[in-house]
């Protein structure tokens, strides 16, 4: 099985609050252009190479949509 990515975001659970975007010290996350089935823009693991699995995005996520792997 392929190793998971460092950050896995459950896009359907995201409510688009954007708190993770501000929490990430390395500007790794971005908001999607598309919307999910609840109508929210969701957070996307975009600049993957800059991620060091610090977990801060997951710490702030109110809806437990983010899992982090190292």
């Amino acid at each position: 099985m392929k190793d998971p990515e460092r950050v896995v975001i459950a896009k359907e659970c995201c409510k688009g609050c954007e708190l993770c975007i501000d929490a990430c010290p390395r500007g790794v996350l971005e908001m999607s252009e598309e919307i999910n089935s609840s109508g929210y823009h969701y957070s996307v693991f975009a600049n993957k190479k800059d991620c060091n699995s610090c977990t801060l995005c997951a710490v702030i996520c109110p809806d437990m949509c983010i899992e982090v792997y190292k």
């Binding site: 190793d3 998971p4 460092r6 609050c17 954007e18 710490v59 702030i60 109110p62 899992e67 792997y69």
Partner: protein, 251 residues
Amino acid sequence: MKAVYERPRTLRDTPMHYCPGCGHSIIHKLLSQSIDELGIRERTIVVAPVGCSVLIYNYLDCDGSEAAHGRAQAVATGLKRARPECVVVSYQGDGDLAAIGTAETIHAANRGEKFSVIFVNNAIYGMTGGQMAPTTLAGQPTKTTPFGRDPKEIGPPLRMCELLSGLEAPAYIERVSVHDVKNVLRTKKAIKKALKNQIEGAGYSFVEVLSMCPTNWGMTTRQASSWIEENMIPYYPLGVYKDRGKERNAK
């Protein structure tokens, strides 16, 4: 790769009804993590308030009880006295704990009941659509104070940590916030400490958490975080107001 951040066992894998960026959901997660880390899920009872977090029993996979509006600490008193081996947590909003439930709060604290309280201060009545709470800031507009709260007419906002730390019995009182990552991590420590105190029989532990209600504040989630930093914290200073454990160790 190994998971370094995943869903705590106590937090059910179900979507929460809270608005985007609501502090309640962060606090539910922190409480769940603390329950997991202390290994007390099987003997924890969370008393739900009336307010937006009335449905907390749908989200936490532990025992629970619902209380009438404001009466959570009266229910918690009964539960803890009847089942002292259980870890009892009273989870309440500011309308619940500091308006309709003021008497229950003050007397439970004054009796030194041996349970833990998580007090979510979002400076407003969330569930009912944004009316003024006892904790609404001076000048803050709400549905019932459209021109801002006027302290000359209705008194200044209640500071519960300061009020309760005037009592002899409480063991631990701290005010924290969840408006940014650093403070979320501090809040986690405070909640865990409040539970640990109870396991060790230390007595009444009270954690006030400043929390965002972007919907009823009429703000974006990001503005709501800044609003806590710039407006709430200057009036509600963060920190430990009472820690009998520390005082005991210092003697």
